[in-house]
Symmetry: C2
Subunit: 430 residues, 2 copies
């Protein structure tokens, strides 16, 4: 039986988990698939630190180029968009199959990378780039291949979901939970990639590309993070029957225009996606035949990510054993996303938090202004007066175009009775 | 480009949905996969009734053998275990790839069918046999291929879940909901296959086989249905913080002994699986690397099942285009399930409902009897006295061996104060 040689570049957390899984389950994988998948090389600049994995002699190397030459499958777990890109391109040019978890690299350079793969009759597998251990990419590309995808909603960043869950359950403010999450290792020292929504946007770009064709650049994803959420928002959302989640939303409208956005979102408490808490990820896919489906699992971490990476390695190995390196084309040609929905044309219900002086007539002025912009109020509540004699008016609107909301927010900011920034959170009924 | 010819035997609900999907999305599938998947023949005894699908001329036939001869992929949607088996075997003997949704046939004759497939260098795809539109089989075989599966829990029968959900939400008795479900078409005129748990057992056998190797016969699955559940059970479970679901439970213990059982189960209200309601299905898989994952979606119906069938057809078509008919072996060899856990050795917490005469001292006698059998009571409540002066004692036990419970139930039945059958429902903490 042909033995498939696997090399891992990057012996960090996920690299160590992947090595562990391949070493521990080589026999299991052989009995299940008939393929012998052998961990042959691991390349890293540091090959002396103990990662808690007993690696056979001769496997560790500091020479990534040697690894690429010697292996059939090159697993890129370096991260980042510089060295990782160099290794990936070199591997593809040598006709090696690449497995990666690098969403940032794919979201930024996907088109270029898949072109190089195609030119060299090779391919890139990237299940671990979205949703950690959840096989969402395989499900989307293969399981749902007979479906026009109507919409997807994803909780795709464990750090954000962990912070929002703790704010909600422990009634703590954003900054406090973030600091604790950093202390516990659930958030990076520089948390911007996660909490400002960029990581989720990378993943949204990948899911949208898979569902609708050509590779979508991350710059076409509308992004807003969770920094500005307050405990008041969480409380008021709860009062109205909602939870707040950082959601990736991918939709195609009747005119085949695409909408890809990442932002804090009010979702009904009773929806399945609202029940996904802590570091868990979840993706809801609606296809025209399958209807609504939901996938949940750990979105990050050594073992869960390794599970996805190994799934890809075995897929690639089966293809190599059978002499079919590119069984599934990466993306279809001839379709582009020139027709993205303009941000001003997003249609959503909105939650608005308007800090105002607690004076008679203010509510009336606010309501009149909204109505003049065609914004219809569905529900309204007012918080109790704070130390400075201010209150916050909380409004849920009916469906409105984003453009009208922005316009109204601008005018509200100019009202003398409005004491601070107006916050808007979009809503989805799912 | 090679065109792959697909034939559907059985133009019923799922057959019509599959034809609809293939016809509607032939272009979409081609752009996504590079394969042309052409619906070439549909065989049924009745080819005149309108199924709401516009079928091209020359596709309908009453001759299934002609279909098998002419097509590359034979989709068996006849159902049952007689004619369906004949067609499937004939197709495999001619080296055709078979796609099926027939869990009863696979659960009963899986070993034989996979042997015939292997002898003829062909294979059988069966995603639609478990969990409707949820790609659970693909996820288990491919996505989680690097995991030792620790345990699985599944809500696999939409009819049962629909009945239990309505009993719970509308406070209606079992018989009443069943009658209504039959009227609405959610339950068969003869509902035994669903409500007595056999359909779930077929699916459990398939999932267990996939996770642990050799094909497991359905007769090795412990089965109990939902007929005997009362509104009292649903109420009392709720009081204790649980919901009742018909669950398929598949576990491997530390000695690699396998436990496959289907029965009504108390699950914590807060668990994700408890939130799967109505006709939806859900499967929780715990793997040693991936941890807990959950998949939900429509478990039955024309469109959702068609989505799974078409996923399989496209998979098979990609294999055929690449000249690799059996990319993934069906099951590994040399492993058998001789070491199943004995029913008497199942270890679970239990819910017991004991109808007794409302007399002083009865509770003490019951508690003493349980304690003499090593059954430790965790929680206890008593219903109010009914018209005949009887009450029901409801007990939640700590973990106990099934054998002890059965023994205790036998002795309780002999107590003069026990007025009716003692009911036991197993519990899972998930």
């Amino acid at each position: 039986m042909k033995e498939i040689k696997v090399g891992i570049i990057g012996f960090g957390t996920v690299g160590a988990g992947t090595a562990d899984c391949l070493l521990k389950h080589e026999d299991l994988i052989r009995t299940r698939t008939g393929a012998t998948v052998r961990l042959t090389k691991i390349a890293d600049l540091d090959i002396t630190t103990d990662r808690g994995v007993k690696v056979p002699e001769g496997v560790l190397t500091t020479d990534a180029m040697e690894l690429i030459r010697e292996c059939d499958i090159v697993v890129e777990l370096v991260g980042g968009t510089t060295v990782a890109k160099k290794f990936m391109e070199e591997a593809l040019r040598q006709g090696k199959i690449v497995v990666t978890a690098n969403k940032a690299l794919l979201a930024k350079y996907g088109n270029e990378i898949f072109r190089i793969a195609a030119e060299n009759n090779s391919t890139v597998h990237y299940e671990a780039s979205v949703g950690g251990g959840i096989p969402i990419i395989k499900s989307l590309r293969e399981g749902f291949v007979g479906n026009k995808i109507n919409r997807m909603y994803g909780i795709l960043n464990g750090t954000c979901n962990y912070i929002l869950t703790r704010m909600e359950l422990e009634q703590l403010g954003f900054e406090e939970v973030l600091a604790d999450a950093q202390r516990l290792g659930y958030a990076e020292a520089n948390p911007s990639l996660d909490i400002d929504g960029h990581d989720t946007a990378h993943k949204a770009a990948i899911l949208a590309s898979l569902a609708y064709g050509e590779w979508l650049g991350v710059d076409r994803v509308f992004v807003e993070g969770i920094r500005e959420l307050t405990l008041t928002d969480i409380h008021c959302a709860d009062e109205f029957g909602y939870k707040i989640k950082l959601l990736a939303i991918i939709k195609q409208n009747a005119d085949e225009q695409l909408e890809v956005r990442v932002h804090p979102t009010l979702v009904p408490k009773t929806s399945s996606i609202a029940s996904i808490s802590g570091v868990f990820n979840g993706v809801m896919v609606n296809g025209d035949f399958v209807g609504d489906t939901l996938f949940c699992g750990r979105g990050a971490g050594r073992e869960a990510t390794a599970s996805a990476v190994v799934g890809d390695i075995v897929d690639a190995a089966l293809d190599l054993v059978n002499g079919v390196p590119c069984r599934l084309p990466a993306f279809r040609e001839g379709k582009n996303f020139s027709t993205m929905v303009d941000v001003a044309d997003f249609v959503t219900k909105c939650y608005m938090r308007i800090p105002v002086a607690d004076k008679p007539g203010v509510l009336g002025k606010v309501a009149t202004l909204l109505s003049q912009h065609g914004i219809s109020v569905a529900k309204l509540m007012q918080t109790s007066t704070d130390a400075s004699g201010n209150v916050e008016i909380i409004i849920l609107t009916h469906e409105t175009k984003e453009g009208r909301i922005s316009e109204a927010v601008k005018l509200l900011a100019d009202m003398p009775e409005v004491t601070d920034k107006v916050h808007v959170i979009r809503m989805e009924d799912l």
